[in-house]
């Protein structure tokens, strides 16, 4: 029950109780008089019942209606406040809640909440800054390690065993570089430091190119990549990032697959959006971990993922790219059968 309803009903109940009390006391008084002057008392009793009914009942009803209206008025700022607070997330913490400015308790509450979000905003900013500094600081030693390992590999006098060790180290250093690169990109994107220049982009052309790449990548693994007819679709987008998005999703669909499996790419127009789907015959994702696959560094099944090399940021980056284009991305899976990633991007226009 809302505060408004509770207070209104309490108010009405109190009024009713006092009314009953008055009536009972009056009746008791009349009862006493009745013994002395029965005639007059009888008329008085009728009057009391009449008054109680004709004035008391409307008064109670009025109090319910009025109370309801009054409480609604009084609590409106609270409703507004909770609506505004609902919209708060880690990216818009710096936007303050609206203040009434009349200095009452609710205004004071908004002020306190604003102070709290400002402190939270500060903490988030510090975490972002820390990640940014960390990924930046990692780059210098990483550059040196990679350079020195490569220099070592160029040494002709290395034994095969030494060469193998150095080559393996270089592979890991490359992977580490990709992780740091991905982390830098996402942290900058969180802080709003990655401006995307949007221009009309033919999504079908990008899809066609990526399809060709995916076919080549899948071929070595014995997988089949299929692509339906691609309708001409133009979106307002950043071609670089959209290519990265397509490759990320397709590469995932190829990596997390089964022997002799398949990957299917499709593009279609759905209302005001371009709908791009990539389905595969992958082992599927359990429903309980499905919502977490876009989380950074999230690896579903440790036993499974250790066999697949990746930086653990591919889908997070994909999600950022889609969101930055005003679109949405979702993933659905039937464990043991297939997994489908669906990307929806708003149209710019269509060419027949």
């Amino acid at each position: 029950m809302t505060i408004r309803a509770r207070v209104t009903w309490c108010n009405a109940a109190l009024l009713l109780c006092s009314l009953v009390l008055i009536a009972v006391l009056s009746l008791a008084e009349l009862h006493e008089r009745h013994e002395r002057r029965p005639r007059a008392a009888e008329r008085g009793m009728e009057e009391i019942i009449e008054i109680t009914f004709w004035i008391g009942v409307p008064a109670v009803l009025l109090s319910i209606g009025g109370g309801w209206w009054l409480m609604r008025k009084a609590l409106a700022p609270v409703t507004a406040l909770s609506r505004a607070a609902e919209r708060i997330n880690e990216f818009n913490l710096s936007q303050p809640l609206p203040r009434t400015g009349n200095g009452d308790e609710l205004d004071r509450l908004a002020e306190v909440l604003n102070g709290m979000t400002a402190r939270l905003d500060g903490s988030f900013a510090r975490v972002r800054e820390f990640t940014l500094h960390a990924s930046h600081e990692l780059k210098t030693p990483l550059t040196i390690l990679r350079g020195e390992t490569e220099t070592e590999l160029r040494d002709e006098s290395l034994s095969p065993a030494q060469r193998e060790r150095a080559a393996s180290r270089l592979d890991e250093l490359r992977r580490l570089s990709r992780i740091v690169d991905g982390l830098t990109l996402l942290t900058k994107a969180d802080a709003g430091l990655v401006p995307l220049e949007l221009a009309p982009v033919r999504l079908d052309d990008l899809a066609r190119d990526s399809f060709a790449d995916a076919q080549i990548l899948a071929e070595t693994l014995g997988l089949r990549v299929e692509c339906g007819e691609l309708p001409a679709v133009t979106v307002a987008g950043n071609a670089h990032r959209l290519r990265q998005l397509l490759l990320n999703i397709l590469d995932n669909a190829i990596k997390y697959n089964q022997p002799q499996g398949w990957v299917r790419l499709a593009l279609r127009r759905a209302g005001e959006t371009a709908e791009l789907t990539v389905a595969n015959s992958g082992p599927g994702i359990a429903p309980d971990i499905l919502p977490r696959v876009f989380d950074r560094f999230f690896r579903g099944d440790p036993a499974h993922s250790s066999a697949v090399e990746g930086c653990g940021l591919g889908l997070s980056i994909a999600q950022w790219i889609v969101t930055a284009h005003g679109g949405s991305i979702e993933i659905a899976s039937a464990p043991g059968k297939s997994t489908t990633v669906t990307v929806r991007l708003p149209f710019l226009m269509t060419t027949a």
């Binding site: 270089l170 990109l185 190119d209």
Partner: protein
């Protein structure tokens, strides 16, 4: 060929110097922006490898000053900042190429080599390596009179390799020019494409023309 390496991180400067020396370049190193500017203005270098973050004057400012003084020495910028628009910013300042850190050493060497022969890129519409011919107008390839069918991507890859005129092409460089990727996709896309291209242009059609330089990249030339 003389190269100036401007890098304040001692170890990084050291391995870059060693690698370039091993390629037969004479290398000078310098650790801050002001000295680099003075050196570049007084000595003719063939290429300058310039880190953006330097004590004192930063790399971008060095390039701007050089270009202001009509000094056209090719500049390759290096950066660990990873700013998204840094490449554009650097090229706008007058640099010729940009390589984000951490980079592949082979990539750096390939880019420095490309810069030393800048302007020498084959601009003709008929490219030839050995008996392999590529007509960039009709997009047709043939070897020893035998026509070769190529997909769009294979064609672009072949054109890029042939235009590089026998220079080493690093993987990132190929991804950038042929795929238009400015990130490391973490796949062996380039290697797989090169393998397919090789099957089409090299297999059974005469001496090998497309060579793998181990750990570095690819080069297209007629081996003596």
């Amino acid at each position: 060929m003389r190269i100036l390496v401007v890098e304040d991180e001692r170890k990084t400067a050291s391995f870059i110097r060693k690698a370039l020396q091993a390629e037969g370049f004479a290398v000078d190193t310098c650790g801050n922006g002001d000295d680099a500017l003075a050196l570049a203005q007084s000595t003719p270098f063939d290429v300058i490898v310039l880190d953006i973050m330097l004590p004192g004057r930063d790399g971008l400012s060095v390039v701007r000053q050089l270009r202001k003084g009509k000094n056209a020495t090719p500049v390759l910028l290096l950066s660990a900042r990873g700013e998204v628009n840094e490449r554009v910013e650097g090229l706008d300042a007058g640099a010729d190429d940009y390589l984000p850190k951490p980079f592949e050493l082979a990539e750096l060497i390939a880019r420095v080599r490309a810069l030393t022969r800048r302007g020498g890129e084959n601009k003709s519409t008929m490219l030839r390596v050995g008996d392999l011919l590529l007509d960039t107008l009709t997009r047709q390839a043939q070897r020893g009179g035998q026509a070769i069918t190529l997909t769009t991507r294979e064609y672009r890859l072949l054109e890029f390799l042939m235009r590089s005129g026998g220079r080493l092409c690093g993987r990132m460089m190929i991804l950038e020019k042929v795929w238009d990727y400015d990130f490391d996709p973490g796949t062996n896309l380039v290697d797989v494409y090169v393998r397919r291209l090789r099957e089409k242009i090299d297999a059974g059609l005469g001496p090998k023309l497309l060579h793998t330089v181990r750990g570095s990249g690819y080069v297209m030339k007629e081996m003596p």
